[in-house]
Protein backbone atom coordinates (compact mmCIF):
# COMPACT_ATOMS: atom_id res chain seq x y z
CA UNK A 1 0.00 0.00 0.00
CA UNK A 2 1.28 3.43 -0.94
CA UNK A 3 0.44 4.98 2.43
CA UNK A 4 3.12 2.90 4.17
CA UNK A 5 5.75 3.37 1.51
CA UNK A 6 8.97 5.23 2.22
CA UNK A 7 8.24 7.96 -0.29
CA UNK A 8 11.09 10.47 -0.62
CA UNK A 9 10.16 13.77 0.99
CA UNK A 10 11.83 15.68 -1.82
CA UNK A 11 10.07 14.96 -5.09
CA UNK A 12 11.88 13.57 -8.11
CA UNK A 13 10.80 16.45 -10.35
CA UNK A 14 13.18 19.34 -10.70
CA UNK A 15 16.31 17.46 -9.75
CA UNK A 16 16.75 15.88 -13.16
CA UNK A 17 17.12 12.31 -11.91
CA UNK A 18 17.54 10.63 -15.31
CA UNK A 19 19.89 13.23 -16.89
CA UNK A 20 21.96 13.31 -13.71
CA UNK A 21 22.21 9.51 -13.75
CA UNK A 22 23.38 9.66 -17.38
CA UNK A 23 26.00 12.33 -16.65
CA UNK A 24 27.32 10.40 -13.67
CA UNK A 25 27.43 7.24 -15.81
CA UNK A 26 29.62 9.05 -18.36
CA UNK A 27 31.83 10.52 -15.63
CA UNK A 28 32.15 7.15 -13.97
CA UNK A 29 33.14 5.38 -17.18
CA UNK A 30 35.78 8.07 -17.88
CA UNK A 31 37.10 7.73 -14.33
CA UNK A 32 37.26 3.94 -14.76
CA UNK A 33 39.17 4.33 -18.03
CA UNK A 34 41.61 6.80 -16.44
CA UNK A 35 42.19 4.40 -13.55
CA UNK A 36 42.59 1.47 -15.95
CA UNK A 37 45.18 3.53 -17.87
CA UNK A 38 47.00 4.20 -14.60
CA UNK A 39 47.06 0.49 -13.75
CA UNK A 40 48.00 -0.54 -17.31
CA UNK A 41 50.92 1.90 -17.42
CA UNK A 42 52.14 0.70 -14.01
CA UNK A 43 51.90 -2.91 -15.12
CA UNK A 44 53.58 -2.20 -18.50
CA UNK A 45 56.34 -0.22 -16.80
CA UNK A 46 57.02 -3.09 -14.38
CA UNK A 47 57.11 -5.58 -17.22
CA UNK A 48 59.47 -3.42 -19.28
CA UNK A 49 61.87 -2.67 -16.43
CA UNK A 50 61.84 -6.31 -15.25
CA UNK A 51 62.76 -7.39 -18.73
CA UNK A 52 65.54 -4.81 -18.97
CA UNK A 53 66.89 -5.53 -15.51
CA UNK A 54 67.15 -9.25 -16.15
CA UNK A 55 69.13 -8.95 -19.34
CA UNK A 56 72.14 -7.11 -20.66
CA UNK A 57 74.33 -6.99 -23.72
CA UNK A 58 78.11 -7.34 -23.92
CA UNK A 59 79.87 -5.64 -26.79
CA UNK A 60 83.20 -7.21 -27.73
CA UNK A 61 85.45 -4.96 -29.80
CA UNK A 62 88.88 -5.71 -31.25
CA UNK A 63 91.27 -4.62 -33.98
CA UNK A 64 90.46 -7.66 -36.10
CA UNK A 65 88.26 -10.74 -36.17
CA UNK A 66 90.88 -12.84 -34.44
CA UNK A 67 91.20 -10.50 -31.47
CA UNK A 68 87.41 -10.24 -31.22
CA UNK A 69 87.22 -14.08 -31.27
CA UNK A 70 89.72 -14.39 -28.42
CA UNK A 71 88.04 -11.80 -26.27
CA UNK A 72 84.68 -13.37 -27.03
CA UNK A 73 85.94 -16.70 -25.75
CA UNK A 74 87.31 -15.13 -22.53
CA UNK A 75 84.08 -13.31 -21.95
CA UNK A 76 82.08 -16.52 -22.41
CA UNK A 77 84.32 -18.25 -19.85
CA UNK A 78 83.71 -15.48 -17.32
CA UNK A 79 79.97 -15.64 -17.96
CA UNK A 80 79.84 -19.40 -17.58
CA UNK A 81 81.44 -19.09 -14.13
CA UNK A 82 79.09 -16.30 -13.04
CA UNK A 83 76.18 -17.42 -10.84
CA UNK A 84 72.72 -16.37 -12.06
CA UNK A 85 73.51 -16.33 -15.77
CA UNK A 86 70.64 -18.29 -17.23
CA UNK A 87 71.27 -18.07 -20.93
CA UNK A 88 73.72 -16.47 -23.32
CA UNK A 89 73.38 -15.88 -27.01
CA UNK A 90 76.43 -14.96 -29.03
CA UNK A 91 76.07 -12.79 -32.08
CA UNK A 92 79.35 -13.19 -33.99
CA UNK A 93 80.87 -10.25 -35.87
CA UNK A 94 79.68 -11.61 -39.20
CA UNK A 95 76.14 -12.08 -37.88
CA UNK A 96 76.22 -8.57 -36.40
CA UNK A 97 77.40 -7.29 -39.78
CA UNK A 98 74.41 -9.00 -41.41
CA UNK A 99 72.11 -7.06 -39.12
CA UNK A 100 73.52 -3.86 -40.66
CA UNK A 101 72.98 -4.99 -44.26
CA UNK A 102 69.55 -3.34 -44.62
CA UNK A 103 71.24 0.02 -44.04
CA UNK A 104 74.69 -0.47 -45.52
CA UNK A 105 73.99 -2.86 -48.37
CA UNK A 106 75.08 -6.44 -48.81
CA UNK A 107 78.79 -7.13 -48.06
CA UNK A 108 79.56 -3.52 -47.15
CA UNK A 109 79.51 -4.12 -43.39
CA UNK A 110 82.20 -6.86 -43.51
CA UNK A 111 84.91 -4.24 -43.88
CA UNK A 112 83.80 -2.36 -40.78
CA UNK A 113 85.10 -4.83 -38.22
CA UNK A 114 81.74 -4.92 -36.48
CA UNK A 115 81.95 -5.88 -32.77
CA UNK A 116 80.54 -9.20 -31.61
CA UNK A 117 77.63 -9.16 -29.18
CA UNK A 118 76.60 -11.41 -26.33
CA UNK A 119 72.99 -11.25 -25.16
CA UNK A 120 72.85 -12.39 -21.56
CA UNK A 121 69.69 -13.46 -19.77
CA UNK A 122 69.82 -13.52 -15.96
CA UNK A 123 67.84 -15.54 -13.51
CA UNK A 124 65.58 -12.91 -11.85
CA UNK A 125 65.87 -14.58 -8.47
CA UNK A 126 69.67 -14.91 -8.44
CA UNK A 127 70.54 -11.24 -7.80
CA UNK A 128 73.69 -11.28 -9.87
CA UNK A 129 76.25 -8.57 -9.09
CA UNK A 130 76.29 -6.95 -12.54
CA UNK A 131 78.80 -4.24 -11.52
CA UNK A 132 81.36 -6.87 -10.41
CA UNK A 133 80.77 -8.81 -13.61
CA UNK A 134 81.35 -5.65 -15.64
CA UNK A 135 84.69 -5.12 -13.88
CA UNK A 136 85.77 -8.70 -14.56
CA UNK A 137 84.89 -8.33 -18.25
CA UNK A 138 86.78 -5.04 -18.43
CA UNK A 139 89.82 -6.85 -17.06
CA UNK A 140 89.92 -8.84 -20.33
CA UNK A 141 90.14 -5.60 -22.25
CA UNK A 142 88.57 -2.15 -22.19
CA UNK A 143 87.00 -3.22 -25.51
CA UNK A 144 84.66 -5.63 -23.73
CA UNK A 145 81.80 -3.44 -22.59
CA UNK A 146 78.75 -4.47 -20.57
CA UNK A 147 75.61 -2.49 -21.37
CA UNK A 148 72.99 -3.06 -18.63
CA UNK A 149 70.34 -0.96 -20.46
CA UNK A 150 70.37 1.45 -17.51
CA UNK A 151 69.79 4.46 -19.72
CA UNK A 152 66.76 2.84 -21.35
CA UNK A 153 65.50 1.67 -18.02
CA UNK A 154 65.61 5.19 -16.55
CA UNK A 155 63.93 6.71 -19.58
CA UNK A 156 61.19 4.09 -19.55
CA UNK A 157 60.63 4.60 -15.82
CA UNK A 158 60.42 8.38 -16.39
CA UNK A 159 57.98 7.92 -19.25
CA UNK A 160 55.87 5.53 -17.16
CA UNK A 161 55.83 7.94 -14.23
CA UNK A 162 54.72 10.77 -16.52
CA UNK A 163 51.99 8.59 -18.00
CA UNK A 164 50.80 7.58 -14.55
CA UNK A 165 50.80 11.19 -13.35
CA UNK A 166 48.77 12.18 -16.40
CA UNK A 167 46.26 9.36 -15.85
CA UNK A 168 45.95 10.31 -12.18
CA UNK A 169 45.46 13.99 -13.07
CA UNK A 170 42.69 13.02 -15.50
CA UNK A 171 41.12 10.84 -12.78
CA UNK A 172 41.27 13.72 -10.29
CA UNK A 173 39.77 16.14 -12.83
CA UNK A 174 36.92 13.72 -13.48
CA UNK A 175 36.26 13.44 -9.74
CA UNK A 176 36.25 17.23 -9.59
CA UNK A 177 33.69 17.29 -12.40
CA UNK A 178 31.52 14.81 -10.45
CA UNK A 179 31.75 17.09 -7.45
CA UNK A 180 30.84 20.20 -9.48
CA UNK A 181 27.87 18.48 -11.10
CA UNK A 182 26.56 17.36 -7.70
CA UNK A 183 26.82 20.89 -6.34
CA UNK A 184 24.97 22.27 -9.34
CA UNK A 185 22.27 19.57 -9.22
CA UNK A 186 21.80 19.92 -5.46
CA UNK A 187 21.35 23.69 -5.79
CA UNK A 188 18.94 23.26 -8.69
CA UNK A 189 17.04 20.63 -6.70
CA UNK A 190 16.68 22.88 -3.68
CA UNK A 191 15.63 25.78 -5.85
CA UNK A 192 12.99 23.64 -7.61
CA UNK A 193 11.68 22.37 -4.27
CA UNK A 194 11.62 25.64 -2.33
CA UNK A 195 8.05 25.10 -1.16
CA UNK A 196 8.79 21.58 0.09
CA UNK A 197 11.95 22.68 1.88
CA UNK A 198 10.16 25.63 3.46
CA UNK A 199 7.33 23.39 4.69
CA UNK A 200 9.77 20.81 6.05
CA UNK A 201 11.40 23.58 8.07
CA UNK A 202 8.04 24.78 9.37
CA UNK A 203 7.05 21.32 10.62
CA UNK A 204 10.33 21.15 12.52
CA UNK A 205 12.87 19.61 10.15
CA UNK A 206 16.48 20.45 10.87
CA UNK A 207 18.91 21.40 8.11
CA UNK A 208 20.60 18.08 8.76
CA UNK A 209 17.35 16.19 8.15
CA UNK A 210 16.84 17.92 4.79
CA UNK A 211 20.49 17.42 3.86
CA UNK A 212 20.14 13.70 4.66
CA UNK A 213 17.11 13.46 2.37
CA UNK A 214 19.07 15.06 -0.48
CA UNK A 215 22.17 13.01 0.29
CA UNK A 216 20.14 9.77 0.21
CA UNK A 217 18.77 10.70 -3.18
CA UNK A 218 22.20 11.58 -4.57
CA UNK A 219 23.65 8.36 -3.19
CA UNK A 220 21.04 6.35 -5.10
CA UNK A 221 21.55 8.36 -8.31
CA UNK A 222 25.34 8.25 -7.88
CA UNK A 223 25.39 4.49 -7.32
CA UNK A 224 23.03 3.80 -10.22
CA UNK A 225 24.94 6.07 -12.63
CA UNK A 226 28.40 4.99 -11.60
CA UNK A 227 27.56 1.28 -11.83
CA UNK A 228 26.30 1.88 -15.38
CA UNK A 229 29.55 3.74 -16.07
CA UNK A 230 31.59 0.85 -14.68
CA UNK A 231 29.77 -1.59 -16.96
CA UNK A 232 30.39 0.66 -19.98
CA UNK A 233 34.07 1.04 -19.09
CA UNK A 234 34.50 -2.73 -18.57
CA UNK A 235 32.93 -3.30 -21.98
CA UNK A 236 35.32 -0.80 -23.62
CA UNK A 237 38.33 -2.30 -21.84
CA UNK A 238 37.33 -5.79 -22.97
CA UNK A 239 37.14 -4.53 -26.56
CA UNK A 240 40.57 -2.90 -26.13
CA UNK A 241 41.97 -6.12 -24.70
CA UNK A 242 40.69 -8.15 -27.67
CA UNK A 243 41.99 -5.55 -30.11
CA UNK A 244 45.47 -5.61 -28.50
CA UNK A 245 45.63 -9.39 -28.65
CA UNK A 246 44.31 -9.53 -32.20
CA UNK A 247 47.12 -7.18 -33.29
CA UNK A 248 49.66 -9.36 -31.49
CA UNK A 249 50.62 -6.48 -29.24
CA UNK A 250 50.50 -8.59 -26.12
CA UNK A 251 53.93 -9.35 -24.70
CA UNK A 252 55.70 -7.01 -27.09
CA UNK A 253 54.87 -3.42 -26.28
CA UNK A 254 51.76 -3.66 -24.10
CA UNK A 255 51.56 -6.38 -21.50
CA UNK A 256 48.22 -8.03 -22.35
CA UNK A 257 45.30 -6.23 -20.68
CA UNK A 258 43.53 -8.89 -18.70
CA UNK A 259 40.14 -8.12 -17.18
CA UNK A 260 41.03 -9.88 -13.95
CA UNK A 261 40.82 -9.14 -10.24
CA UNK A 262 43.95 -6.95 -10.31
CA UNK A 263 42.04 -4.57 -12.60
CA UNK A 264 38.44 -5.14 -11.54
CA UNK A 265 38.97 -4.64 -7.80
CA UNK A 266 40.40 -1.11 -8.22
CA UNK A 267 37.74 -0.35 -10.85
CA UNK A 268 34.98 -1.48 -8.47
CA UNK A 269 36.11 1.20 -6.07
CA UNK A 270 35.31 3.92 -8.65
CA UNK A 271 31.47 3.78 -8.29
CA UNK A 272 31.84 3.96 -4.53
CA UNK A 273 34.28 6.87 -4.78
CA UNK A 274 31.92 8.73 -7.13
CA UNK A 275 28.98 7.93 -4.88
CA UNK A 276 30.85 9.29 -1.91
CA UNK A 277 31.97 12.42 -3.74
CA UNK A 278 28.47 13.20 -5.10
CA UNK A 279 26.74 12.51 -1.78
CA UNK A 280 29.17 14.57 0.29
CA UNK A 281 29.18 17.43 -2.23
CA UNK A 282 25.36 17.44 -2.29
CA UNK A 283 25.13 17.35 1.49
CA UNK A 284 27.57 20.22 2.03
CA UNK A 285 25.89 22.25 -0.72
CA UNK A 286 22.47 21.75 0.84
CA UNK A 287 23.66 22.70 4.32
CA UNK A 288 25.33 25.82 2.97
CA UNK A 289 22.42 26.81 0.73
CA UNK A 290 19.89 26.31 3.55
CA UNK A 291 21.92 28.57 5.82
CA UNK A 292 22.20 31.22 3.12
CA UNK A 293 18.64 31.07 1.80
CA UNK A 294 16.21 29.94 4.49
Amino acid sequence: MRRFSRAPLLPEAGQGGAPLTAVIAVISSLACLALAAFILIASASNAWTDELKSSFTIQVKGVDAEEIGERLKSAQEILSSTPGVENIKVVESKDAAKLLEPWLGKGNADALNVPALIEVKLNKEAQTDVAALSERLQSISPGVILDDHGGWNDRLADAARSGQALAFAVFALIMGAACAISIFAARAGLSANQEVVSLLHLVGATDDFIAREVQRRFTVIGLRGSMLGLLAATFLLTLFSFATRARGGEGFFLPGLTIGPELLIPLLSVPFAICLVTAIAARLTVLRTLRETY
Binding site: R2, F4, S5, P11, E12, V196, L200, H201, L202, V203
Partner: protein
Protein backbone atom coordinates in the same frame (compact mmCIF):
# COMPACT_ATOMS: atom_id res chain seq x y z
CA UNK B 1 4.04 31.42 29.14
CA UNK B 2 3.66 30.20 25.57
CA UNK B 3 4.15 33.39 23.54
CA UNK B 4 5.16 36.90 24.50
CA UNK B 5 5.63 39.88 22.20
CA UNK B 6 7.27 43.02 23.60
CA UNK B 7 6.82 45.99 21.27
CA UNK B 8 7.32 43.74 18.27
CA UNK B 9 7.52 45.31 14.87
CA UNK B 10 7.95 43.63 11.53
CA UNK B 11 8.91 45.26 8.28
CA UNK B 12 9.53 43.48 5.02
CA UNK B 13 12.51 44.63 2.97
CA UNK B 14 10.41 47.11 1.06
CA UNK B 15 7.61 49.13 2.59
CA UNK B 16 6.34 50.20 5.96
CA UNK B 17 5.99 47.97 9.00
CA UNK B 18 3.33 45.27 8.68
CA UNK B 19 3.14 44.94 12.44
CA UNK B 20 3.73 47.82 14.82
CA UNK B 21 4.48 47.83 18.53
CA UNK B 22 2.67 44.58 19.20
CA UNK B 23 2.42 43.63 22.86
CA UNK B 24 0.88 40.27 23.40
CA UNK B 25 1.01 37.37 25.84
CA UNK B 26 -0.47 33.91 25.42
CA UNK B 27 -0.42 31.65 28.44
CA UNK B 28 -0.77 27.89 28.69
CA UNK B 29 -4.31 26.71 28.00
CA UNK B 30 -5.49 30.00 26.48
CA UNK B 31 -7.74 30.21 23.44
CA UNK B 32 -7.74 33.35 21.31
CA UNK B 33 -9.42 34.38 18.15
CA UNK B 34 -7.58 36.77 15.87
CA UNK B 35 -9.76 38.90 13.66
CA UNK B 36 -9.25 41.86 11.43
CA UNK B 37 -9.75 42.97 7.86
CA UNK B 38 -7.83 41.40 4.99
CA UNK B 39 -4.28 42.69 4.85
CA UNK B 40 -4.33 43.72 8.51
CA UNK B 41 -1.37 41.43 9.23
CA UNK B 42 -3.09 38.33 10.69
CA UNK B 43 -1.01 35.87 8.65
CA UNK B 44 2.17 37.85 9.34
CA UNK B 45 1.36 37.74 13.07
CA UNK B 46 0.95 33.96 12.93
CA UNK B 47 4.11 33.61 10.79
CA UNK B 48 6.08 35.32 13.54
CA UNK B 49 4.76 32.84 16.08
CA UNK B 50 5.48 29.76 13.97
CA UNK B 51 8.94 31.15 13.29
CA UNK B 52 8.64 31.64 9.55
CA UNK B 53 9.61 35.28 10.18
CA UNK B 54 11.61 37.07 12.86
CA UNK B 55 10.70 40.44 14.30
CA UNK B 56 12.66 43.40 13.00
CA UNK B 57 12.00 45.26 16.21
CA UNK B 58 11.18 44.39 19.82
CA UNK B 59 11.58 41.03 21.59
CA UNK B 60 9.71 37.79 21.12
CA UNK B 61 9.62 34.84 23.51
CA UNK B 62 8.33 31.38 22.65
CA UNK B 63 7.90 28.61 25.23
CA UNK B 64 9.99 30.69 27.58
CA UNK B 65 12.90 31.15 25.16
CA UNK B 66 13.86 34.42 23.56
CA UNK B 67 13.75 33.68 19.85
CA UNK B 68 14.28 37.22 18.55
CA UNK B 69 17.86 36.51 17.50
CA UNK B 70 17.96 32.76 18.21
CA UNK B 71 20.39 30.55 16.31
CA UNK B 72 18.64 28.55 13.59
CA UNK B 73 19.61 25.26 15.28
CA UNK B 74 17.40 26.29 18.19
CA UNK B 75 14.26 26.67 16.07
CA UNK B 76 13.28 23.11 14.94
CA UNK B 77 12.49 21.79 18.45
CA UNK B 78 10.31 24.84 19.04
CA UNK B 79 8.53 24.46 15.70
CA UNK B 80 7.72 20.84 16.54
CA UNK B 81 5.69 22.05 19.50
CA UNK B 82 3.48 24.13 17.20
CA UNK B 83 0.77 22.76 14.91
CA UNK B 84 -0.11 25.08 12.06
CA UNK B 85 -3.15 24.96 9.78
CA UNK B 86 -2.06 27.12 6.87
CA UNK B 87 -4.61 29.17 4.98
CA UNK B 88 -3.37 27.78 1.65
CA UNK B 89 -3.04 24.23 3.13
CA UNK B 90 0.57 23.75 1.95
CA UNK B 91 0.22 20.03 1.34
CA UNK B 92 3.04 18.27 -0.52
CA UNK B 93 1.64 17.21 -3.88
CA UNK B 94 3.87 14.15 -4.27
CA UNK B 95 2.79 12.66 -0.94
CA UNK B 96 -0.50 10.94 -0.17
CA UNK B 97 -2.94 12.30 2.40
CA UNK B 98 -1.56 9.75 4.87
CA UNK B 99 2.05 10.76 4.19
CA UNK B 100 1.20 14.45 4.44
CA UNK B 101 -0.41 13.96 7.84
CA UNK B 102 2.50 11.80 8.99
CA UNK B 103 5.08 14.40 7.91
CA UNK B 104 5.66 16.09 11.30
CA UNK B 105 6.14 12.67 12.92
CA UNK B 106 8.57 11.57 10.24
CA UNK B 107 10.52 14.80 10.57
CA UNK B 108 10.64 14.32 14.34
CA UNK B 109 12.16 10.86 13.77
CA UNK B 110 9.19 8.93 15.22
CA UNK B 111 8.95 5.32 14.12
CA UNK B 112 6.16 4.66 11.63
CA UNK B 113 4.75 1.86 13.79
CA UNK B 114 4.17 4.40 16.53
CA UNK B 115 2.30 7.01 14.52
CA UNK B 116 0.48 4.85 11.99
CA UNK B 117 -2.60 4.40 14.17
CA UNK B 118 -2.70 8.07 15.20
CA UNK B 119 -2.60 9.18 11.57
CA UNK B 120 -5.34 6.72 10.58
CA UNK B 121 -7.50 7.79 13.50
CA UNK B 122 -7.12 11.47 12.68
CA UNK B 123 -7.90 10.95 9.00
CA UNK B 124 -10.95 8.88 9.93
CA UNK B 125 -12.02 11.61 12.31
CA UNK B 126 -11.86 14.29 9.62
CA UNK B 127 -13.85 12.00 7.33
CA UNK B 128 -11.01 11.02 5.02
CA UNK B 129 -10.59 7.41 6.11
CA UNK B 130 -11.27 6.23 2.58
CA UNK B 131 -8.93 8.75 0.97
CA UNK B 132 -5.71 8.06 2.82
CA UNK B 133 -3.89 7.10 -0.38
CA UNK B 134 -5.17 10.03 -2.40
CA UNK B 135 -2.75 12.64 -3.66
CA UNK B 136 -3.64 16.27 -2.80
CA UNK B 137 -4.39 17.20 -6.40
CA UNK B 138 -7.27 14.71 -6.38
CA UNK B 139 -8.79 16.19 -3.19
CA UNK B 140 -11.35 18.99 -3.01
CA UNK B 141 -10.57 22.25 -1.20
CA UNK B 142 -12.42 21.08 1.90
CA UNK B 143 -10.66 17.73 1.91
CA UNK B 144 -7.29 19.43 1.61
CA UNK B 145 -8.23 21.67 4.52
CA UNK B 146 -9.02 18.61 6.63
CA UNK B 147 -5.73 16.91 5.71
CA UNK B 148 -3.92 20.12 6.69
CA UNK B 149 -5.82 20.13 9.97
CA UNK B 150 -4.91 16.50 10.69
CA UNK B 151 -1.25 17.27 9.94
CA UNK B 152 -1.29 20.17 12.39
CA UNK B 153 -2.72 18.04 15.17
CA UNK B 154 -0.92 14.73 14.69
CA UNK B 155 2.03 15.56 16.91
CA UNK B 156 -0.24 16.75 19.76
CA UNK B 157 1.29 20.23 19.78
CA UNK B 158 1.40 22.59 22.77
CA UNK B 159 0.32 25.48 20.56
CA UNK B 160 -2.12 25.30 17.66
CA UNK B 161 -2.23 28.12 15.11
CA UNK B 162 -4.96 28.10 12.50
CA UNK B 163 -5.25 30.60 9.67
CA UNK B 164 -8.85 30.64 8.43
CA UNK B 165 -9.31 26.92 9.21
CA UNK B 166 -12.98 26.92 8.28
CA UNK B 167 -12.63 28.93 5.10
CA UNK B 168 -12.96 25.97 2.74
CA UNK B 169 -15.26 23.62 4.60
CA UNK B 170 -19.03 23.48 4.95
CA UNK B 171 -20.60 24.97 8.11
CA UNK B 172 -21.03 21.53 9.71
CA UNK B 173 -17.38 20.61 9.24
CA UNK B 174 -16.46 24.15 10.34
CA UNK B 175 -18.28 23.61 13.62
CA UNK B 176 -16.69 20.20 14.03
CA UNK B 177 -13.23 21.68 13.52
CA UNK B 178 -13.85 24.49 15.99
CA UNK B 179 -15.18 22.02 18.55
CA UNK B 180 -12.01 20.00 18.10
CA UNK B 181 -9.90 23.09 18.79
CA UNK B 182 -11.95 23.72 21.93
CA UNK B 183 -11.44 20.09 23.03
CA UNK B 184 -7.70 20.26 22.37
CA UNK B 185 -7.62 23.52 24.29
CA UNK B 186 -9.33 21.82 27.23
CA UNK B 187 -6.64 19.15 27.09
CA UNK B 188 -4.02 21.87 27.56
CA UNK B 189 -3.04 23.14 24.12
CA UNK B 190 -3.02 26.90 23.62
CA UNK B 191 -4.90 27.91 20.47
CA UNK B 192 -4.94 30.96 18.21
CA UNK B 193 -7.45 30.94 15.36
CA UNK B 194 -7.32 33.69 12.76
CA UNK B 195 -10.73 34.04 11.16
CA UNK B 196 -13.16 36.33 9.42
CA UNK B 197 -16.12 34.35 10.73
CA UNK B 198 -17.40 36.60 13.48
CA UNK B 199 -20.45 34.38 14.02
CA UNK B 200 -18.14 31.54 14.90
CA UNK B 201 -16.17 33.82 17.22
CA UNK B 202 -19.31 34.94 18.99
CA UNK B 203 -20.63 31.40 19.20
CA UNK B 204 -17.61 30.22 21.18
CA UNK B 205 -17.27 33.22 23.46
CA UNK B 206 -13.49 33.07 23.60
CA UNK B 207 -11.12 36.02 23.96
CA UNK B 208 -10.59 37.91 20.78
CA UNK B 209 -7.78 40.06 19.43
CA UNK B 210 -8.16 42.35 16.48
CA UNK B 211 -5.42 43.43 14.12
CA UNK B 212 -5.96 46.63 12.24
CA UNK B 213 -3.36 48.55 10.30
CA UNK B 214 -0.61 46.42 11.83
CA UNK B 215 -1.63 47.21 15.41
CA UNK B 216 -3.05 44.64 17.79
CA UNK B 217 -6.10 45.43 19.93
CA UNK B 218 -7.25 43.08 22.62
CA UNK B 219 -11.05 43.01 22.84
CA UNK B 220 -12.96 41.87 25.88
CA UNK B 221 -14.26 38.28 25.73
CA UNK B 222 -17.39 37.91 23.64
CA UNK B 223 -20.42 36.30 25.17
CA UNK B 224 -21.13 32.88 23.77
CA UNK B 225 -24.25 32.80 21.65
CA UNK B 226 -24.80 29.14 22.38
CA UNK B 227 -25.04 28.26 18.71
CA UNK B 228 -22.33 25.64 19.06
CA UNK B 229 -23.14 24.18 22.43
Amino acid sequence: MIVRFDNVGLAYEIGAESLKDVRFTLNEGEFRFLTGPSGAGKTTFLKLIYLALRPTRGRMTLFGQDVTDAERDMLPPLRRRIGVVFQEFRLLDHLTAFENVALPMKVAGVNQQQYREDVRELLNWVGLGSRMDALPQTLSGGEKQRVALARALVSKPDLILADEPTGNVDPQMGEKIMKLFVELNKLGAAVIVATHDLQLVQALGKRTMRLDGGRLYEDPPMRASGRMR
